[in-house]
């Protein structure tokens, strides 16, 4: 009997997030908790343009970050919101935040051999990305959410 060779099937381990105008980044599958369609945002004055509203979610008021605004493109209209959970440091309590999206997230499979250099706007991505991988010829940063939800100066 011939041994059966199993096809190596890559399971999805990341979400690809579209922040508008082809600006994309990825987060781990466990990071995204919920997608909200047409969210009601509460503006907060005297806040940075990229984080100028909060979203009420499960008794919390989550900061809403518009990565498109950070990247210098037109700020997004609040159409889709991704609720994300992250830790500032390993072992610390989970914190929550929200990211504005231009399209629903897409599940993708990423492996170590896809790592590459940061894409355009690398001065921005170097602040907000752990690392980067290549997906269909495009460099996709992996978001460092603790930095995204702390401040631009972090």
């Amino acid at each position: 009997m011939m041994p059966v060779e199993k096809n190596p099937v890559l399971r999805s381990n990341a979400w690809l997030l579209d922040f508008s105008q082809s600006f994309c980044a990825a987060v781990g599958t466990r990071v995204l908790l919920q997608i909200i369609d047409n969210p009601k945002l509460h503006p907060v004055p005297c806040a940075p343009q990229h984080c100028s509203s909060v979203f009420s979610w499960q008794g919390r008021l989550l900061p809403v970050v518009d990565m498109a605004s950070i990247l210098g493109v037109e700020p997004q209209t609040p159409h889709l919101l991704a609720i994300a959970g992250y830790r500032e440091l390993p072992g610390e309590p989970i914190r929550f935040g929200a990211l504005l999206l231009a399209a629903p997230p897409v599940a993708i499979a990423v492996s170590d051999n896809q790592s590459c250099m940061l894409p355009e706007h690398s001065e921005v991505w170097s602040k907000f990305a752990f690392s980067c991988f290549e997906q269909q010829g495009k460099a996709i940063p992996i978001l460092h959410l603790a930095r995204v939800f702390s401040s631009l100066d972090a």
């Binding site: 004055p45 005297c46 806040a47 940075p48």
Partner: protein
């Protein structure tokens, strides 16, 4: 004292709720020294960036009109019907609002710290609070708000 502590202390006493073009601002009711009609504001010889004067305790105090983004306005929107007079050190400052709620009308929900990503230098927003299922208010106090307006006027 941390911003969160300031925000908590700001709202442990009875609170007042100011509505400015949809922006909800909560501050300690004790910070409000008087409520006047916007029509009582004397618009003659206004100081730069103020919209006029209000008479209180035999003196006149500057009145400012701010937007829902907390920028100074020189053209007063028609919906600004109330002038709140805030204690500011040794004097007072008037701020025009659409509506002001005080006493038992103001029921605050859970208090929240301002998320760290939203901190800006000199912001008068000290924290956030829910009002009901659909509304959120920014927590401030007279000291922070008057200092903020003074900085806007100077710059």
């Amino acid at each position: 004292m941390s911003a969160a502590a300031v925000a908590r202390s700001s709202t442990t006493s009875p609170a007042a709720l100011l509505n400015i073009s949809g922006l909800n601002l909560v501050l300690p009711q004790i910070d409000i020294r008087a409520l006047e009609s916007a029509s009582d504001v004397d618009v003659g010889e206004a100081e730069p960036f103020s919209i006029g004067w209000i008479q209180y305790e035999q003196q006149r105090w500057p009145v400012y009109c701010i937007s829902h983004e907390l920028s100074l306005l020189v053209d007063v929107p028609g919906e600004r019907r109330v002038c709140v007079l805030l204690g500011a050190g040794a004097g007072y400052v008037g701020i025009l609002c659409d509506e002001v709620s005080i006493g038992k009308q103001v029921v605050l929900g859970q208090q929240h710290e301002l998320p760290s990503a939203m901190h800006m230098p000199n912001t008068p927003v000290l924290g956030l609070t829910t009002l009901d299922a659909d509304n959120v208010a920014c927590v401030t106090n007279a000291q922070a708000l008057v200092a903020y307006v003074a900085r806007l006027v100077q710059t």
